[in-house]
Subunit: 462 residues, 2 copies
């Protein structure tokens, strides 16, 4: 079938400008799932994706309503009765664009500077969704597909996919597949195609400390009241020890250790201290001293303050002693930590460390466990070969620090593994101002996915 493969690759080459134009259109929709005010934009983005699938001639294209933002579905069958079925995952929602003043150009107006396309969602992950769709379009331009493909594109990834589990449970037959393809995990560098075999989990909380029953004048009452902002700082400061370890009771009890083999393999990744210094722009690295940066971000659990607020933060100098203080705190989890147990550990920490001068509240926002998968599966092998053909080198295998809850859901509910890859780069500013997509890499990504589809022809059905 190398004729079809070459024809598909040629189509992709010849139609790159058209593909790019369609991506640019997709990026203008501000599909910010964290903000209820953007509900209509989420619906528009879902319809836009459905129209894309429809135009390719996919079957059963449908926008499924959920308790939150809708799920887009579409499928295509290979004439080959024994063909493998791949469930292609993606999300059409994006992170908020704030702080807006730091964007060089409008976050929702795609802007090309040099080799990069700038827009919120360009990298995470509208660009990746479009790479999958455009790879299939190229394959279909050449002829019948060698495998069955099912697309599931959701709209709640950036808020922890709260309604996806129910959707998958309710549509187990529809979604039945041999494995999933998840192009949301990216590459280590522009010359390093990457397959991610493990992902960290997430448990996200909002904590609040209340003191006086109203804001006080800091002159009249300063000295007799435990300032809630100070109390929250004391509690947050106590969540790490001097070695950078998280102090929540039992936090490390179920953490799987890194064995010497894995440690030596992770050590071969081209991501030392200099890499992380360059990517973050921080003055010095921080964290658990007994672990390398790659291990700390991939194979070790962490706790972060994602946001913090108390009192008067405007211009000037209001002399208030605030009534309360709030922080958004999240933990990144590794096998075999459980998000609910971490929730209990956080509550226990607050219960043990909060003085009687203030009161605390811990609210669980989202949670999903970490995952780790088989590096010898047919899907991973097909992806490894596809990457090798495009980049002329073997891909790297790594553990990823971010969380992809859907990988866990697919494993738990559909009992399938995911091939985690993607064509985003570490300096793409995902979740930050000036998010961008490296266009030459995106183009290689489309070619890779075309090879991946053909590589799976006559694959062993699981």
């Amino acid at each position: 079938m190398s004729g079809l493969r070459n024809s598909a690759l040629k189509f992709a080459e010849g139609n790159n400008a058209k593909f790019l134009g369609e991506l640019e259109e997709f990026l203008t929709i501000p599909s910010i799932s964290t903000d209820p005010e953007h509900k209509a934009d989420l619906e528009q983005a879902a319809k836009w994706v459905a129209t894309q699938l429809d135009r390719l001639g996919l079957d059963r294209v449908h926008v499924f309503p959920t308790g939150g933002h809708p799920v887009v579905y579409g499928e295509i069958k290979s004439p080959d009765q024994g063909a493998l079925t791949v469930l292609v995952y993606g999300h059409y929602d994006v992170q908020p664009a704030e702080p807006l003043e730091l964007w060089k150009t409008d976050a929702f107006e795609a802007n090309i500077r040099g080799e990069n396309l700038f827009a919120r969602g360009a990298s995470d992950m509208k660009g990746q969704v479009m790479a999958s769709i455009k790879a299939l379009e190229s394959v279909l331009s050449a002829g019948k597909p060698p495998i069955n493909l099912k697309f599931l594109i959701e709209g709640e990834e950036e808020i922890g996919s709260p309604n996806l589990a129910e959707f998958i449970r309710n549509n187990k037959q529809l979604l039945r597949a041999d494995f999933a393809l998840n192009p949301d995990t990216g590459m280590i560098g522009v010359d390093h195609p990457t397959i991610t075999y493990a992902l960290r989990g997430l448990a996200y909380f909002e904590v609040r400390v209340d003191g006086p029953d109203h804001d006080l004048h800091s002159g009249i009452y300063g000295g007799v009241v435990h300032n809630p902002a100070q109390a929250l700082c004391e509690l947050i400061a106590g969540m790490h020890d001097e070695q950078g370890r998280v102090t929540l009771p039992g936090f490390y009890d179920s953490v799987r250790t890194i064995d010497p083999d894995e440690r030596s393999q992770l050590g071969r990744l081209p991501m030392g201290e200099d890499f992380y210094l360059a990517q973050t722009g921080t003055s010095a690295l921080w964290g658990e001293k007994d672990f390398s940066p790659v291990e700390r971000t991939g194979a070790r659990p962490t706790l972060e303050v994602n946001g913090m607020y108390s009192g008067f933060i405007g211009e000037g100098s209001k002399t208030v002693l605030p009534a309360w203080a709030m922080a958004k705190i999240s933990t990144r989890l590794v096998p075999d930590q459980d998000p609910d147990e971490v929730h209990q550990q956080l509550v226990q920490y607050f219960s043990e460390h909060t003085p009687d001068t203030v009161r605390y509240t811990v609210k669980k926002m989202v949670g999903s466990p970490a995952s780790i998968s088989d590096r010898k599966s047919v899907g991973v092998q097909a992806m490894q070969d596809a990457m090798e053909r495009v980049w002329n080198k073997k891909p790297l295998f790594r553990r990823e620090g971010g969380s992809v809850p859907v990988v866990v859901l697919f494993k738990d509910i559909l009992d399938i593994d995911s091939v985690n890859c993607g064509f985003s780069l570490p300096d793409d500013n995902a979740h930050s101002p000036n998010e961008k997509l490296h266009l030459p890499t995106w183009k290689r990504g489309i070619d890779t996915l075309i090879h991946f589809i053909y590589n799976l022809e006559n694959g062993s059905k699981v």
Copy 2:
């Protein structure tokens, strides 16, 4: 002159509704000095006060422009050549009204419920300014004034009076007086007329901690970067020791000790733990264990977090590792601390405690030293007698935790002491939502100021 005194008191009694109506009008002007957007409202409030003084027939009524918001001036001379001159201080600016959603009625629409008038500035201190003006109006209704009075009503008290020193320096002759009357320090309780003989100073700062050079994905980079919000919390947590003492290097070095006499006198104030628990609504008091609540809020220096911000604080769960974190931090000072020295101490604290994983900035916003004054002066004696006549009890003498920089300026530039009093109450919600003025106390305040003016007749010129 008891005929005139009684006639003035009768006028005040008969015109209370009119006085109240004028106060309500004054309160509708949102003269928020911290917010540059309200510049025109500040000018309107200044003109409104000038019109009030003008209508009483005062001389040299003028709205003086300054580098910031204007100063209102007006004066009246007694026919008595040997009459004392009193400089009456006030401010027409108010604190921001945020958080607006906690107000039961509009912050800038006076609303009477029971014995209280609710509005931003009702207590701090438009109500107090109006009590002074209306006391003089009552005196003038009865005849010529027994003393010379000069009014100085500024518009920048709530932002630390940044332009007042220059105005006073440039107008030393105009403002020349035997002493000042400052009705901005309030009462301990509705049955406790109060004279404040000491005030705490203020040094206000904005501190910022920077880490990575842009917001990061907390999954990808969590574990190798010192989270700036966490680092700021660690720094803030370290600013107090376990005994509630401030840890800035040298912070207590120049703090004047409380002698046994003063300690026993402060011990007679009806403000024990229960008082502070009731006023603040906090679950348990906090602070230096070797000092009483009254001592901790009046005679001891403190450090407060007035506001704090980092990262994502909106709805939902953005997984950002923020690039920076900010806090507004202020210290309340007692004799003989120096605000500039405290600034140096804070900078030294940050320099000694900030790890090399983050960078810090300390910005000084405003600063003024504490003050302490003579309890046997002619002005204090006249106020003591006036309060005794209205309340039938001797006033209490106390130290105040808040800062009144103008008292320091009057002492430093004009070499005059201030009689610090006022008719606000501890539960007036100054600087908080639902600020209010207790109207029966306000009425007693006007009577007290009428007595005060007549008590100074034939007073010994300093």
